[in-house]
């Protein structure tokens, strides 16, 4: 708020001094060497065990392979985005319930938040895959993976949003109230927009977890990247090469998400809007 305000980030990521800079450089160089060595070792192992044999790699020369993987990637992105949006909506509702001050709502929402945070995603997946159909709930495989992933994330999203709301100085709310705005408007126009800006990096980190959770799609037979990779593996009997590629793609997706979070955080500091 004030011009002299020091954020937590400033404290954590203070500009390093010359000594620290030297150390950072040294450690970076050492880890680079180590990673290259490990990589070389891995390639060497592959060579020895015959994993570099053409029969494990030739199909990457075919357009159809890439098209098939790309379709899986689209599936992954669709599930992740839909889950993300759903988790955000559910999380928002749970968060508003939890901070509503109404006893029953607080209790119910707190319980739901703890429940969804505590239960492993795979159990939710099995619920929609095995249990729900027995009660006549027949869903497309897309929803059989999207719903459990969303459920599993919504409690965390609720808590992230709540921490953002708590971080908004209470003077913001008081100023809005004193201008004659009703509570609901104060929350939607003043408090929540600021809370949301605070937690964008944390929400993107949660999206990384959502992306990883989508790999449970194989359980319900939804053709995501992982599932399509498995198909390739059984077709060509080439486990290592395909999984390696899939891992690289997942790493790239999540790296980009983390980059976006970091970029946003830095960008905000630069413009120093909040």
């Amino acid at each position: 708020m004030n011009a002299g305000h020091v954020s937590i980030k400033d404290v954590l990521y203070e500009e390093p001094g010359p000594k620290l800079k030297k150390r950072i450089k040294a450690v970076t160089a050492m880890s680079t060497v180590l990673i290259i060595l490990l990589f070389a070792l891995m390639v060497h192992r592959f060579y020895i065990t015959g994993q570099l044999d053409g029969k494990y790699w030739f199909f990457f020369g075919r357009l159809s392979t890439w098209r098939f993987l790309f379709r899986g990637l689209i599936g992954t992105v669709e599930v992740a985005l839909t889950s993300g949006v759903l988790a955000f909506i559910l999380g928002f509702i749970l968060m508003t319930g939890r901070i509503s001050g109404k006893k029953a709502a607080v209790k119910i929402c707190t319980a739901l938040i703890e429940f969804t945070r505590g239960v492993p995603t795979l159990l939710f997946v099995y619920f929609f895959f095995l249990v729900a159909p027995q009660f006549g709930l027949k869903l497309a495989s897309f929803w059989k993976i999207t719903l459990p992933v969303a459920l599993s994330a919504c409690g965390v999203v609720a808590e992230v949003l709540r921490s953002g709301v708590n971080a908004v100085p209470k003077g913001q709310r008081e100023a809005a109230l004193s201008l004659g705005m009703v509570e609901r408007k104060v929350f939607l126009k003043i408090v929540f927009p600021q809370a949301f800006r605070y937690v964008i990096p944390a929400l993107l980190s949660e999206l990384v977890i959502v992306v990883k959770d989508t790999t449970f799609a194989y359980v319900v037979n939804f053709p995501d990247l992982m599932q399509n990779a498995s198909v390739l593996i059984s077709n060509y009997d080439a486990m290592l090469s395909v999984y390696l590629l899939a891992a690289v793609i997942y790493i790239i997706i999540n790296y980009l998400l983390n980059k976006a979070a970091a970029y946003y955080a830095g960008h905000r500091k630069e413009r120093s809007l909040l």
Partner: protein, 241 residues
């Protein structure tokens, strides 16, 4: 305009406002002074119900202050409030800070609200900063914007809770000047402040509080030359140096 009768407030066991009786007439400027912790802010904040009260009554233009809901919001929209820490909306530009409530609460058109906002920003001397964000302004500028934001609602009375206490000395006067102009224009004001010269200049009456009680209500001439209680005399002595 404002009538406060037999008001009591507790924080838990702590009795912070004790049998407060005070009225502020239309066009009057009342300055509240007193030592830290005497309950000045709390009193100020009960008037637009940012603090609830435990007993007593607050009447605004003869009507009791509503407890909650739309009625309370409607009354609040007519009572301007300026805070020690400015509290400008951090995610909105200066212009948006001033236009938000007129659009959202009074349902003015954007064009109309903007025109009025620019007029007010000009009046307080920050119209050149309209497109910046609060944090890009100095404290004095921010506080003047906060005053403009309140004025945009066309308030019948304005509350100020130590509006210059968070400011660097060289910025205090630019805010006090704006407030003096408001007083000259006939605005009804209730001001908590430690600026004694300002209090002498603009106030019609001075209220001295200590330990949750009003000990004295007097004209500024009388109060500052011959305070009616020892506590007030001690207080005036203590802030001289």
């Amino acid at each position: 305009m404002i009538e406060i009768k037999k008001l009591n407030k507790y924080y838990g066991d702590h009795h912070v406002l004790k049998d407060i009786d005070l009225s502020v007439d239309k066009g009057e400027v009342v300055v509240i002074i007193g030592p830290s912790g005497s309950g000045k802010s709390t009193l100020c904040r009960t008037v637009n119900r940012l603090e609830t009260i435990d007993s007593g009554e607050i009447l605004i233009e003869g009507e009791p202050l509503p407890e909650d809901g739309k009625d309370l919001a409607a009354i609040r929209s007519k009572i301007g409030m300026v805070f020690q820490s400015f509290n400008l909306f951090a995610h909105k530009t200066i212009l948006e800070n001033v236009t938000l409530a007129p659009v959202e609460v009074l349902h003015k058109s954007h064009a109309e609200a903007k025109e009025e906002a620019m007029r007010l920003l000009k009046r307080v001397g920050v119209d050149s900063q309209a497109d910046k964000y609060p944090i890009q302004l100095s404290g004095g500028q921010q506080q003047r914007v906060a005053i403009a934001r309140s004025l945009a609602m066309n308030p019948k009375v304005m509350l100020f809770d130590e509006p210059t206490s968070a400011l660097d000395p060289e910025m205090i006067n630019e805010v006090l000047d704006v407030m003096t102009e408001l007083a000259d224009d006939g605005m009804t004001m209730m001001i908590v402040t430690h600026e004694m010269n300002f209090a002498k200049q603009v106030s019609d009456r001075v209220v001295f509080m200590d330990d949750g009680r009003i000990l004295e209500i007097n004209t500024p001439e009388k109060f500052f030359s011959e305070p009616g209680t020892d506590r007030a005399r001690d207080f005036l002595e203590s802030i001289k140096n």
